[in-house]
């Protein structure tokens, strides 16, 4: 106290920092005094905060992550991805890609098989058929690893595992020309024991494949193969063609045995587009789920293009969802406005009774309400029966009111109506009847008074109700699922489908995120146009 008096005394020009009697600055003292109550407030909200964090914030963040997360390919075949990164995308990838790929595909450990399964599913979103391709290649890769050249030859031409090929060669190996041109092969074949019994081996060991491949390469290189071909031709024309063809490519096959081996598993492995697709989806994050959610996709060169026409469903579905939600919102508004007005202007005893009637649906299971609409609206239902009984429609022309868009709109309007009534009622309740009286006394007829004085004051309620109903409608799931039939399905039904049936969580998350951002844009627009402060929910 004494200090304060002194401070204000001698130097009024320089304002002294305010202090407590013991000299601590006022701000510090204030912070100390309020800290305890702040901590207490935090403790009070903590349970809810934690709950919201775990059940709301975390799932939303997780969903956002999932919609761009793309770990499957990278996790399953990291070495291949690293090699693919070095590939410029021109022609076929280098052999290092194939060796890494076969090695990783051939790993039969449980974990790797699970990873590869996920990769197959992931690649399948880009191009149907990838899943089975990966599955069968996985089985083959383990074997390829043991005898790459054998599988390379077989992969080059199925003729190499034809049951006639090797016995014929075995016979020819006895000839001088064969022994001359392919000496080691001849030696090995002579040592190979085959027989005429149906159970005898028809294909020699893997080493014979590698020998014949390297010798064919040499023979084709120095032209000596041309001497041998007529001899083989005389024995078997087809075999001669096979030898000639193989000889011409032998160098390439020897250099890229795994490529040919994989092509033997599936032709797709020999197409650059297959590898480009893998390269494209190998990045740890991807926009492809979002592209997919708006009916677009990457082509194999990484350009964004429209999906093929038969796969374009989501844009249409989004538009349909928005139109249905707008329609439901408008229907709710038209129905709810007079009810709310009545509720707000009736004496409170009657008003409360009516309000209970409005709230009654809230206490009834959503499922019950929806299914009761089925009872009412179906072709053999109450309404159709009544109309037929009254002779308004004939028995053959019963109206289709459910399992289509009509059913969805009717049921959704009914279910969402209270969400429109309550905010409007709470706003209208606060509008004093004296405004209308004032307007009337100032010379406005009832209509003008209503339009110019009453209605503008209900705008916050209209806005709050509309935005509430619209947001609920745009994400509505159970009612369309039950009464929507084929064409009454909305976007959330597809999100649910991808969550539960197709297990494409990335796409489900992307669709959900698009929906969420649409709602946020609307919210922002509403804030700009009407102002969130003006929104009253009750």
């Amino acid at each position: 106290m004494a200090e304060a008096v002194q401070g204000s005394g001698p130097s009024p020009t320089a304002p002294k920092q305010m202090t407590m009697a013991d000299g601590t600055p006022l701000k510090v003292a204030l912070a100390r005094a309020t800290r305890r109550s702040k901590i207490r407030a935090l403790l009070l909200v903590a349970p809810l905060l934690v709950f919201i964090l775990i059940t709301f914030i975390f799932p939303i963040v997780d969903m956002l992550m999932r919609s761009i997360d793309n770990p499957e390919v990278n996790e399953a075949i990291p070495l291949t991805v690293a090699e693919l990164d070095r590939w410029d995308g021109e022609g076929m990838p280098p052999s290092a890609v194939f060796s890494a790929f076969v090695q990783e595909m051939g790993d039969r450990s449980d974990e790797q098989r699970r990873n590869l399964g996920r990769m197959g599913a992931r690649l399948n979103y880009e191009d149907g058929g990838f899943r089975s391709l990966v599955n069968k290649s996985q089985r083959a890769a383990a074997k390829i690893q043991d005898a790459p050249l054998q599988f390379a030859l077989v992969g080059f031409d199925k003729g190499w595992e034809d049951k006639k090929t090797w016995p014929t060669l075995d016979t020819l190996a006895e000839t001088a020309d064969f022994a001359d041109v392919l000496p080691t092969t001849a030696e090995q074949l002579r040592a190979w024991e085959t027989g005429s019994s149906p159970f005898a081996e028809k294909v020699p060991g893997a080493e014979t494949f590698s020998t014949i491949l390297s010798e064919l390469a040499t023979a084709a290189g120095n032209g000596s193969l041309d001497r041998l071909l007529p001899v083989i031709k005389a024995e078997n024309k087809k075999l001669a063609t096979l030898i000639e063809k193989t000889g011409a490519q032998a160098g390439d096959i020897e250099a890229n045995p795994l490529r040919y081996a994989l092509m033997g598993v599936d032709k797709a492995w020999g197409q650059p587009d297959t590898w480009k697709t893998i390269k494209n989806v190998s990045s740890p994050v991807t926009a492809s789920y979002y592209l997919n959610a708006v009916d677009r996709t990457y082509d194999s060169d990484g350009n964004i293009v429209m999906q093929p026409e038969w796969k374009q469903i989501y844009v249409h579905l989004f538009m349909k969802t928005i139109y249905v939600s707008l329609g439901v919102t408008l229907a709710c508004l038209i129905l709810a406005y007079p009810i709310s007005y009545l509720l707000a202007t009736l004496p409170s005893s009657k008003g409360n009774l009516l309000l209970i009637l409005v709230l009654l649906p809230f206490w009834t299971s959503l499922l019950v309400r929806t299914t009761s609409w089925i009872v009412l609206l179906q072709t053999q239902g109450v309404i159709n029966d009544t109309l037929v009984f009254l002779g308004l429609i004939s028995d053959d022309n019963r109206i289709e009111m459910i399992y289509n868009m009509t059913g969805t709109i009717i049921a959704m309007t009914h279910i969402l109506l209270p969400f429109m009534v309550l905010p409007m009622y709470s706003v209208m309740k606060t509008i004093s009847p004296s405004y209308m009286r004032a307007a009337r006394s100032l010379g406005a007829n009832p209509l003008i008074a209503f339009v110019r004085v009453y209605m503008p004051q209900t705008v916050p309620g209209i806005g709050a109700g509309s935005i509430l109903v619209f947001i609920l409608a745009i994400g509505y799931y159970i009612t369309p699922a039950l009464v929507g039939g084929q064409d009454g399905q909305l976007i959330s039904n597809f999100i649910a489908y991808h969550m539960q049936k197709s297990l494409n969580w990335g796409l489900a998350a992307a669709l959900g995120t698009v929906l969420l951002s649409g709602v946020l844009v609307l919210y922002w627009l509403y804030d700009r146009l009407v102002g969130i402060d003006n929104m009253k929910l009750g």
């Binding site: 004296s434 009286r437 004032a438 009337r440 006394s441 100032l442 010379g443 406005a444 110019r452 004051q457």
Partner: protein, 362 residues
């Protein structure tokens, strides 16, 4: 009462019931001349607001007719009556600016834009809010909102303006200031005003005539001085101003005067509202008309009294004495040097003139 001219507003045998059981307004007859400032004064539930609402058109009389300027109003909807109205809670449209609020009655009358603007500005200037046209009602203080409401009720130049407790929400100083303003505007524009209030000082300050309502009936209709000085019945006497009430029996009536026996004391009073000799009566006597220790013989009524309580109020000392069997008898003693030496328990004499003591109904 005021000449042969047909009254501007007439209530003719008006009755009103809301529930079919209780008459809120009973057999009401009231004539209001053009240019008059008439106040309906009464406790809440006395039917005054109902009368105003019937005049405005928001309630319909159950029976009887209401006439305005010679035209029967019963079936004219409110917006065709051309009556300006100021509401208790102002009822300014919150979504419009002050200027838009004022323009509203002109716009619905399809007045041209330039005329509207000129009139709005003139009305705003009249209530000294010329610079506030662009504000919203929510941005104004209570007093400013009240002025806007007043301007809005006047801007379309109605011949009749109704005010329903317009100053009820204001604090005391502002209320007094607004009372004078409304009075001045009334004098300036000369329209007819029907004003409803339960505040008697407000009624006394502003009105040409006051209709005191109680129990659905007009108890007395008179200019403020008459009402205060010459109440017709015990209710009016009690409701307007402070009042000493002595209950007794009429002993004798002679012309305008009478003698009343109050607890053995014989009091001379004016004979106003009692039912003859032998009937019960209430004597009404204003505290400021009672003299302490009057000169002997100067007054017909002089009685012994004991000072019970003294309350110092600056300009006067409110003195409670017991006399004539009543220990709530109030005397206002002017704060002059001569009378400064009263003390509790002191024996004094109180006296008053015959004209100041009115024998009313029981």
């Amino acid at each position: 009462m005021a000449g042969k001219k047909t009254p501007f507003v007439q209530f003719v045998e008006v009755q009103k019931t809301y529930d079919g059981e209780i008459l809120v307004v009973k057999d009401l007859n009231l004539d209001i001349q053009a240019g008059e400032f008439v106040t309906m004064l009464g406790p809440s539930g006395s039917g005054k607001t109902t009368c105003l609402m019937m005049l405005a058109g928001f309630e319909t009389p159950t029976e009887g007719t209401i006439m305005l300027g010679g035209r029967e109003l019963n079936h004219v909807p409110p917006h065709k009556r051309g009556i300006g109205m100021v509401f208790q809670n102002y009822a300014l449209f919150p979504h419009m600016t002050v200027a838009e609020n004022l323009a509203f009655p002109l716009q619905v009358r399809k007045m041209s834009k330039s005329d509207t603007e000129a009139k709005v500005q003139r009305a705003l200037d009249m209530v000294e809010l010329g610079a506030f046209g662009g504000r919203r009602p929510g941005q104004l203080s209570g007093g400013q909102q009240q002025r806007v409401a007043l301007a809005r009720a006047l801007v379309f130049e109605p011949d009749l303006v109704l005010m329903d407790e317009p100053l009820g929400a204001l604090d005391k100083n502002l209320r007094e200031q607004m009372q004078y303003e409304i009075k001045h505007i009334h004098e300036q524009l000369g329209m007819t005003v029907v004003y409803v209030t339960h505040d008697q000082s407000e009624a006394l300050t502003m009105s040409d005539r006051i209709a005191v309502f109680n129990d659905g009936k007009i108890q007395q209709l008179a200019p403020p001085p008459d009402l205060y000085e010459r109440p017709d019945n015990a209710f009016v006497a009690a409701f307007i101003g402070e009042n000493n009430r002595l209950r007794g029996t009429v002993k004798e009536v002679n012309g305008t005067g009478c003698t009343v026996d109050v607890d053995g004391h014989i009091i001379q009073a004016l004979s106003i509202g009692h039912e003859g000799v032998g009937s019960r009566t209430t004597l009404s006597l204003r505290p400021e008309r009672v003299m302490l220790d009057p000169a002997p013989g100067s007054m017909p009524n002089v009685f012994d009294a004991t000072v019970e309580e003294l309350i110092y109020l600056g300009d006067h000392i409110r003195t409670r004495v017991s006399t004539c069997g009543d220990d709530e008898f109030i005397v206002k003693v002017p704060n002059s040097h001569a009378k400064a030496s009263l003390s509790r328990g002191q024996k004094v004499q109180v006296g008053w003139a015959l004209d100041d003591c009115r024998a009313l109904d029981a």
